[in-house]
């Protein structure tokens, strides 16, 4: 792709286009929509829960697990970029009679296969399910009825 522009100029064009896309949409919406604020509309999440307390509270531990799994797979994809640069190199493919393409193709599929196996492992261990499997309520039922506990609590309450 010869455009006469330097590679950085192409990137700059991309950034400009992205900015235009986002802000253009917002501004057009602002221009044509009616403006009728109401109490519910001004909440920070219009249809979600009201935020309580500060942002440093405890988060459910499963968020971290999912976060870690995501982090690993996301970063491994970095290896696709140098591969993509040499994969389609016409000169190399011509000189090796097409073998180069097949070699790199297989290599990358082995790599992706290993990654996929890792994902399968996480899946089979149940780290991707939101309600974790195997955590059933215990079948234990106390022979002492609950009302007795409450009676004792009430007795020593005052």
């Amino acid at each position: 792709m010869e455009t006469g522009l330097s590679p950085f100029a192409e990137v700059l064009l991309f950034i400009l286009a992205a900015a235009l896309f986002v802000f253009g949409g917002l501004i057009t919406a602002r221009l044509i929509r009616p403006h009728r604020p109401g109490e519910q509309k001004l909440e920070s999440y219009e249809s979600g829960e009201q935020p309580l307390g500060d942002a440093w509270g405890q988060v459910n531990i499963r968020f971290y697990l999912l976060g870690l799994i995501f982090l690993l797979f996301e970063v491994e994809i970095i290896f696709l970029f140098p591969w993509a640069v040499v994969f389609g190199d016409e000169e190399l493919i011509r000189e090796t009679g097409g073998a180069w393409g097949w070699l790199t193709f297989t290599e990358m599929f082995i790599f992706l296969g290993i990654l996929f196996l890792g994902l399968l492992y996480a899946w089979s261990k149940g780290y991707l399910d939101w309600p974790m499997p195997g955590r059933k309520k215990s079948g234990f039922s106390s022979p002492v009825p609950r009302s007795m506990y409450e009676a004792i609590n009430k007795k020593y309450d005052s």
Binding site: V85, V86, L92, T96, L117, G118, S124
Partner: protein, 499 residues
Amino acid sequence: MQYSSENMNTPINWLTLESVSDSLYWLLPELLLTTLILLLTILIISPVKSDKWQKGLVFFGIGPYVLVNGYFSYVLGETQIQNLFNADMLIVNAQAAKWKILLGLSMLVVLLFPLPLTVKRPRGEYFLLLTGVLLGASLLVIANHFMMVLISLEMISLTSYLLTGLARTRYSAEAAVKYFLFGAAATAVMVYGVSWLYGITGHVSLSGSELAMLENNFYPDWVPFLVVTLISSGILFKVAVAPWHIWVPDVYEQTPTPVVAMFSVIPKLAGFAFLIKWITWLQWPVEEVAVLAVLTMSVGNFAALRQVNVKRMMGYSSIAHSGFLMMALLFPGDASVLFFYAAVYIFMNLGAFLLINYYERMYRIQLIKEYDGFFRISPLFGIYLVVFMVALTGLPPTAGFTAKLFLFSGVLAQFQESGSALLMFTFVFGIINAVVSFAYYVRIPYGMIFRDMHSSVNIFKKYSVLENFLCLFLVLAVLLLFFKPEWLMGWINNSSFAF
């Protein structure tokens, strides 16, 4: 894209498809281990939750690994060198194949260790991580480029952290986090050092003579020294050389014993196999190595004297042996003594840990004083323990003595050749340390034989025939190598261990 045309036609000159398939052939041991890891993962995912299958698969993978390396060490002959992918990244020769045989054999022994009950079953993940350590160690042995060194070191480290945290106890979690934080910091320091090495010389492989570039007059003197120190710290951390040894006692105390046995052998030997290449590249800085060796063995031996926990004591003992192995790096251009010491160290250390594991499982004992009087209950195992402790001290009639004899006579010969006072100093300190180590190694057998038991014995686990045979094998090896050291030395010397 303008930049593709000018740079991308260079690879075709050094990388041809024939060389790829040739190189993959010499990479067969590592490919075997990789396949083993993938198959184990599939087995863990699959509905077959059988411990036996997983264990069988591991032996089926590591057995051929040892055999293939044996074949390579035979085929490669005395001096043949295979530069894989012509990239100066991985270099296979007979010496590397022999190191890998040692690693594979010790891994097979470690796999036969019975595991404590704190580790969850089925043990698929345990086998997986052990194979990962072996793969990392195997790559480190053939690594010749700092990118490979970094990857293989991390492969060893990350799996080691996870193995430390394997037991379901709070102490094990604590040890794992400490190990991780120290280890990750050491790696980060090393990576930063490598970045400067790359900046100054423009190369990160160990093939050329970039040391001259590193030490030119363009930079002040302390720059090369700092760079080399930063890089070395990452490796010296892994092999537990003082002052990078602080993680050892905590980790050794709280990790399941089979894993500790593995820690004391596989990362350490792989580290030394690489260290000798690195020291060759540095053109044998004898003085620094001697100082580190003396420091390491003194720290290990003197701290071991006041330990009450057996595994903690063995941790300091392994630091002390790192010091002795450092001493074996004092002979410029010859690694055969290092290899001999390492091989003997494997036998005696794995044997000692096997017995510690046995007593821990059978009687739940971990403190040195709890061993009192046990000779009467199991005399056979008592004798085994005496042999291993004598070997670790370095007294006849065990191979530990032979190894130390080679080591000390080598240092003495070096001293006579060069007349450096530092070598004499190292020699004297080595002897003093060997004497000091006697004091703590002998404490366990002494208590076992001559003292009375503290309380009545509860036997928790069934007696294992396998353990007995394994011990017998290791004892025989340790004794045999004292009487016939030329068997091992002959095998070592039929390929070149010179640099």
